[in-house]
């Protein structure tokens, strides 16, 4: 006993400094237990798994550059006269917030670069989250056990939108001020409490002199604080659940195949942070963004044409632009439906996406864990629903920029607005039908490939003159990959009467579920995957054709 402890302590004395520090930390933090499970953690490889990383890294870049910007930004709406080095603005009245933004751009060396990195990274952050979310959606990675992580990610996207909005409103320039005015007008449209919320948010009437300071604390503290917590929780769950993977040889629902965190993903993922940062820095060096000095300070009685929010708010902008101006006056009150319904729709469209995992698990009734990703074609109804949602989102984006489409393509603004009004409803339906068709077509092609092999493009002439196209049978790897997916059967309600011939009560929700399930998994909603028997029958015969 004593000899073993002696030898252990002796080997520790000789240990290199790094090991000693690790031992010290382990004695206090228990890091070895943590490292045992995670240091050589396996992560599978696929290009689409990188999208979430782009989001994570741009978030870190935003925090780093944001902290720098707070050192120079003055979140105050006191009116001051400008006497800085930007000549065209000399003597102009502007808020201190706007002036300090000019100073960051013109007096602080490198300040403009950091401002531009901050803004570009924000646009990329939201875009990366959006695309990452689509990746997770279309591959079914949101299924059990990852539904809660889907919600965390969704919350990050929504909070990211509002953090972005409160951020680009801070310089108090003419463009962002117009966006704040729009928001205030939308708040006023809320029944009963609208005017109160507006007064409380702006410290009185719009614009007042409080909102920049209040948006500032929301933008730099409240929202990013919540987001940082959510990001950490999101990552902890990624580690805890272990990453999903696509089907393939050696890859099952019970394992995870890939490379270890140390060293491969330390280098790849760590390196990728620098790649993302580097690319954003170069973009910020050559592509100007939000030149507030060209836009001017905010005045509530002035506006520029072609006013656009940042892209992620274009969806809200589109909803408010295409909706007809309905106003109902009853009992001395005004119901501003033309603004309030878009406001509600904004929430409903987003909530539909957030709740989808729970809807699908209700339809399938599947309580198992899923770690193998679906190829989008193998879940035609889900894929079609997703594309329908994206179509709706994109149509409203078009609506949000209807003036730009009109001026750039020389079209009538009225025609574009009417197009958006109609296609907001029709577009998703068309997209749904088309996507489902395409998915089924791709499933058929997979089936053909499995049963008849790969088309080699070689035409052979047989001695008796017949021409045949040579198909090359697939390897077992490929056969397995193309047939690994599961196919659900529609839920049956069961007979209407029980074994005694007495009528059985079937709940309305059960009937609905059976109907939806039929739409999802009926014969015309998916192509039955090839069976081993079909395969053997074809390959054992003379079936080259």
């Amino acid at each position: 006993m004593s000899t073993t402890t002696n030898s252990a302590s002796r080997s520790r004395e000789k240990a290199p400094a790094g090991e000693k520090i690790a031992d010290w930390a382990d004695g206090r933090l228990g890091i070895y237990t943590l490292a045992k499970a995670n240091m050589r953690k396996i992560f599978p490889d696929h290009w689409s798994f990188m999208l979430g990383e782009v989001a994570l890294y741009s978030f870190i870049i935003i925090i780093l550059t944001g902290v720098y910007l707070t050192l120079f930004f003055h979140p105050s709406m006191n009116e001051v006269e400008y006497h800085g080095s930007y000549v065209p603005m000399q003597g102009q009245l502007m808020s201190e917030a706007f002036k300090s933004t000019l100073d960051i751009s013109f007096e602080v060396r490198g300040g403009l670069l950091i401002r531009q990195i901050h803004h570009w990274a924000a646009l990329i952050f939201l875009a990366a989250m959006f695309v990452h979310m689509m990746r997770v959606f279309f591959t079914g990675a949101f299924r059990k056990p990852r539904e809660i992580n889907w919600l965390f990610g969704f919350l990050l996207f929504v909070l990211g939108m509002f953090t972005g909005f409160t951020g680009y409103s801070l310089p108090d320039d003419l463009l962002s001020g117009t966006g704040v005015r729009f928001t205030q007008g939308a708040i006023l449209a809320t029944p009963i409490v609208g005017t109160y919320i507006s007064m409380f948010l702006f410290g009185g009437e719009f614009p007042g002199d409080d909102f920049v300071a209040r948006f500032y604390s929301i933008h730099i503290l409240l929202l990013p604080g919540i987001m940082l917590g959510l990001v950490v929780a999101h990552l902890i769950l990624v580690f805890f659940h272990k990453h999903t993977q696509f089907a393939g040889p050696g890859k099952t629902n019970k394992n995870v195949v890939g490379m270890p965190l140390l060293p491969v993903y330390m280098a790849k993922a760590g390196g990728f942070f620098f790649l993302v940062f580097g690319v954003i820095a170069v973009i910020s060096a050559v592509a100007q963004i939000n030149p507030v000095w060209a836009i001017g300070p905010y005045r509530p009685d002035q506006v520029s044409t072609g006013a656009q929010p940042d892209w992620y708010m274009g969806f809200a902008e589109g909803l408010i632009r295409f909706f007809p101006g309905w106003e109902v006056n009853i009992w001395g009150h005004t119901l501003v439906l033309g603004v309030f319904i878009p406001l509600v729709l904004f929430g409903v469209v987003l909530a539909a996406l957030a709740l989808y995992p729970f809807i699908e698990s209700w339809v399938t009734g599947d309580k198992r864990e899923h770690h193998i990703l679906d190829r989008p074609r193998n879940a035609p109804t889900r894929t079609a629903l997703g594309v329908a949602w994206v179509t709706m989102y994109m149509i409203t984006l078009v609506g949000g920029g209807n003036d730009l489409w009109a001026t750039h393509l020389h079209l009538s603004i009225n025609a574009i607005t009417w197009f958006v009004r109609i296609f907001f409803f029709v577009g998703p339906v068309i997209a749904f039908i088309l996507t489902k068709r395409i998915c089924l077509g791709l499933q058929r092609r997979d089936k053909d490939k499995v049963l008849h092999g790969r088309e080699t493009g070689i035409i052979k002439r047989l001695p008796h003159g017949e021409f045949i196209e040579v198909h090359e049978p697939l390897s077992q790897d490929a056969l397995h990959t193309l047939t690994a997916h599961e196919q659900y059967k529609p839920v049956e309600i069961g007979p209407a009467v029980d074994e005694n011939g007495v009528e059985r009560k079937v709940k309305g929700s059960e009937k609905l579920r059976a109907k939806v399930s039929k739409a999802y998994f009926d014969e015309d909603a998916q192509i039955p995957k090839p069976t081993v028997e079909e395969y053997k029958e074809i390959t054992s015969g003379h079936g080259h054709h």
């Binding site: 280098a267 620098f274 690319v279």
Partner: protein, 350 residues
């Protein structure tokens, strides 16, 4: 496939099945397991590995040089110098140099690390077991039992008085936080109903800061006005102009379709609120021929010759009109405040 060179009738039947390149003939779709690891050139050729090493080192070196370049640019380039970069155009030289060097320094670190990982670190795929997220039944039973034990010991279920008063206290105390928010702003009151306009206030040209006479307003022009006494330096300027901003046009009285509009005008000069009734953008585009004005934010279009009613877009009601006249000295003046609230509609508007 080679069998196809022989006439089909000469082929033995059995030979055909051997074409199938499937290892497991009984279960052709079964998982064949992880494919064997394939070596990269760097794994077998030390010279190739050396080349990779040099490439990675070169990238890291370029990064170091770029950082030196960043510091040099920061120190040497004046911040107001501009530079022409093809094909982008004129750029701020300092911003361009700093961004490019910083970008290069970061990108090369990333590229070096990724190249290192891809060519020199082991690329052998490893399989890790997954374990169900759910706890084992024994663990589940233990936790449930522990919870029941704890709940029982707390007597929360039995001593209802404690439970109910505790819930009451916990439910009430957040109200303090809500109450504290009260001073975020004043109550709406009638603030949204009134503007600075009142009887006798002169209409002052926004650009020249001079009171307007009827002769100043030409047919086809769009003039912006503010109430007299409101100056840009005033503390409340922004908040007041957000409601009081006015646009003035002159229309041939015969062309005015709305009877009240004609009554409230002066010789065809009409004054309307500039603030859009949709969500409050200032309207700024005027089409002289049709007397339509367009809000550039959301494209609500109003007909100024017909009571400023909405003819297109998302706005819900007409722009409020200000009743104007001319005072003894020949200046345009307001004959009162707007009769309805300006700007976006709200619940109490009625």
């Amino acid at each position: 496939m080679s069998s196809q060179d022989i006439p089909e009738e000469n082929l033995p039947v059995a030979q055909d099945t051997t074409q199938v390149a499937v290892a497991d003939e009984k279960h052709p779709f079964a998982d064949p397991g992880l494919p064997p690891h394939e070596h990269r050139i760097q794994d077998i050729d030390e010279r190739a590995a050396k080349r990779s090493e040099r490439a990675v080192a070169l990238l890291f070196t370029v990064s170091m040089l770029a950082t030196v370049g960043f510091i040099a640019s920061y120190v040497t380039i004046p911040h107001d110098k501009s530079v022409f970069v093809f094909p982008i155009g004129h750029l701020n030289a300092l911003n361009f140099a700093l961004g490019l060097t910083l970008g290069l320094a970061l990108f090369c670190i990333g590229a070096g690390a990724v190249h290192w990982a891809r060519t020199l670190m082991s690329d052998e795929e490893i399989a890790d077991e997954r374990h169900p997220i759910e706890a084992e039944p024994e663990v589940r039973a233990k936790v449930h039992a522990d919870f029941k034990q704890g709940a029982k010991e707390s007597a929360l279920g039995r001593r209802k008085l404690i439970r109910n008063t505790m819930f009451g206290a916990l439910a009430l105390f957040p109200l303090s936080g809500v109450v504290l928010l009260r001073d975020l702003g004043p109550l709406p009151g009638t603030k949204l109903r009134h503007t600075l306009w009142s009887k006798g206030k002169l209409l002052v040209n926004m650009n020249t800061n001079e009171p307007l006479r009827p002769a100043d307003v030409a047919v086809g022009s769009l003039t912006f006005a503010k109430p007299e006494g409101l100056e840009e330096h005033d503390h409340e300027f922004q908040t007041e102009i957000a409601k009081a901003a006015l646009m003035i046009v002159r229309i041939q009285p015969d062309n005015i379709k709305d009877k009240r509009e004609l009554e409230w005008s002066h010789e065809g000069i009409v004054a309307y609120s500039k603030i859009c009734t949709h969500v409050g953008c200032p309207i700024s585009l005027y089409e002289q021929q049709t007397h339509h004005v367009l809000c550039p934010c959301h494209q609500s279009t109003f007909d100024l010759s017909d009571g400023a009613r909405v003819i297109f877009g998302p706005a819900g009601h007409a722009l409020p009109q200000l009743r104007i006249g001319v005072n003894d000295e020949g200046y345009l003046e307001a004959l009162g405040d707007f009769e309805e609230p300006v700007g976006p509609a709200f619940w109490e508007r009625g």
